[in-house]
């Protein structure tokens, strides 16, 4: 189970409000416990005497850093000191505020600074979760794909999943993911895309 803190500054900008909602829905999964800055404000007064640092209990941070926010520097400072994997997102076409204080090469390797556009946000967050969470985190299938199969293929799938706890759909997804791991062309494509995102 991975604990993730997500900070999207309060803003009147509707795109940022939408981003907060989209990140929250990506993190809405059974293997991730997410706390956001809005949740934290609501529960702040519940246990004023508890002295266990809340940030240290988190496994990873996700920060939307397009706008200036006084708390972002504080969170980044803790992420650096505590060596917590952190995804710092900023809208493509803007300048990441984090670079005002530290150059990219000065940021430690566990801080990922990524510019995103409307179509890439979910991918960046899911990739980060997989990297930060290791094998405990798997991307959630969200795209419906209808595939007509022959009766022979169906019989094959039944045989492969008989007496297992794996559904036919999960088994097929596992096979595809294995093929993707082994496909060098695909891996090259991923590396090219990762470097163009930075």
């Amino acid at each position: 189970m991975m604990r993730c803190y997500c900070h999207v500054p309060e803003s009147t900008d509707p795109s940022l409000t939408a981003t907060a909602g989209r990140i929250r829905s990506i993190l809405d999964r059974p293997d991730v416990v997410v706390t956001t800055n809005r949740d934290a404000q609501a529960t702040a007064a519940e246990s004023p005497r508890e002295n266990e640092p809340a940030l240290e209990r988190m496994d990873a941070f996700i920060i939307e850093g397009t706008t200036s926010d006084a708390e972002i520097g504080f969170l980044l400072a803790h992420a650096i000191a505590l060596k917590k994997p952190t995804l710092y997102l900023y809208q493509r076409g803007t300048v990441a505020k984090v670079f005002s204080h530290l150059a990219l090469h000065e940021l430690p390797t566990w801080i990922k600074v990524v510019s995103y556009h409307d179509k890439s946000l979910e991918r960046h967050v899911e990739q980060f979760l997989m990297q930060a969470g290791g094998k405990s985190i798997r991307p959630t299938p969200r795209i419906k794909f209808t595939l007509r199969i022959t009766s022979l293929i169906e019989e094959y799938l039944n045989q492969k999943t008989l007496n297992t706890k794996t559904s036919k759909a999960d088994w097929l997804r596992d096979q595809l993911e294995h093929m993707m791991d082994q496909d060098q062309d695909w891996q090259r494509h991923l590396r090219r895309r990762a470097s163009s995102d930075e």
Partner: protein, 302 residues
């Protein structure tokens, strides 16, 4: 919170040795060590522009160093948004008590915090929390340890492994959450309220201590008596001590049961001996004739 990028003065008076690199492990021993140390602590620059001030490599809790820290605070506070005083954990509480007694009209946060890697009271996270607190909308000396922001006047540490306690003015979780507190007044000019009166005697009553063995001279400007709660003390013993003192000599007694009669004019407190001594030094240094008034003020929450 400050709208623009804040500036925070960080006064180094000990507690600067951290794990992480040879530079951090060595700590700040001279002024020349400050910049290399700050380079290793690059995360501090994510919060504020740091204005470093080297005070000393470390101190054991002495009036001269506290007075020096106070003067540095006065000099820097008008041009920064807050100040952090980094000291060794062992004397952090006393330093907070001393600075609270020394400095008056503090319109910005002055954050005393223990340094070093002692998990019970320090660590890099603690320093980050302290610097963030120095940018918050509050004023006056406060003590930051772990996730608690405590009114410096009320901070207590009993010397065991228990964390510090006191009146909380805020909590640090994913940000600063302030409770009832005094808000920032940037136009206030701080001043040093007093100098410490160093010639304060302290005695701890024990079965082996005979009042007739005690003698006090004209250079003794005050006395703090600590009563061992396991042993207790008889009123006659206190009366015998009183006969050896000048009539107007300030006397503070700590640790005695609340129903025990004490000589007229003495001041009773529950504070530990060291805290009571620091406060009496400040009270007598402020106004000897009104030392009781200042003792009450130093002992009452803001």
């Amino acid at each position: 919170m400050i709208g623009k990028r804040p500036r925070v003065a960080v006064l180094f008076a000990g507690g600067t040795a951290f794990r992480g690199s040879p530079v951090l492990s060595r700590g700040i021993r001279t002024a020349a060590d400050v910049q290399p140390w700050l380079k290793e602590m690059g995360e501090l620059g994510m919060i504020a522009d740091i204005v470093p001030v080297f005070v000393s490599a470390g101190h054991r809790g002495d009036p001269a160093t506290w007075s020096l820290i106070a003067r540095h605070i006065l000099e820097r506070l008008p041009v920064v948004d807050g100040a952090v005083v980094l000291v060794a954990p062992a004397i952090s509480v006393l330093t907070a008590i001393a600075l609270d007694a020394l400095i008056d009209r503090v319109g910005k946060p002055v954050v005393i915090t223990p340094g070093g890697d002692d998990r019970a009271g320090g660590g890099r996270s603690n320093l980050i929390n302290a610097i963030q607190t120095a940018t918050a909308d509050l004023r006056g000396p406060v003590f930051v340890s772990g996730s608690h922001i405590i009114d410096a006047r009320t901070v207590q540490y009993d010397g065991s492994d228990q964390p510090v306690s006191g009146t909380m003015v805020g909590k640090i979780d994913f940000g600063i959450r302030l409770f009832a507190h005094l808000r920032r007044q940037a136009d206030q000019r701080p001043s040093v309220r007093t100098v410490f009166e160093p010639h304060i005697r302290t005695i701890t009553l024990s079965p082996a201590l005979q009042p007739k063995q005690l003698s006090f001279g004209p250079s003794d400007r005050g006395l703090v008596i600590a009563v061992d709660s396991l042993v207790g003390v008889a009123p006659e013993t206190l009366a015998q001590i009183a006969t050896k003192l000048r009539p107007s000599m300030p006397v503070v007694i700590t640790g005695c049961p609340p129903d025990l009669a004490i000589p007229t004019g003495w001041f009773r407190t529950d504070s530990p001996l060291a805290v009571a001594t620091v406060r009496l030094m400040a009270a007598v240094g402020t106004k000897p004739a009104a030392w009781r008034t200042w003792m009450k003020r130093f002992s009452s929450p803001v």
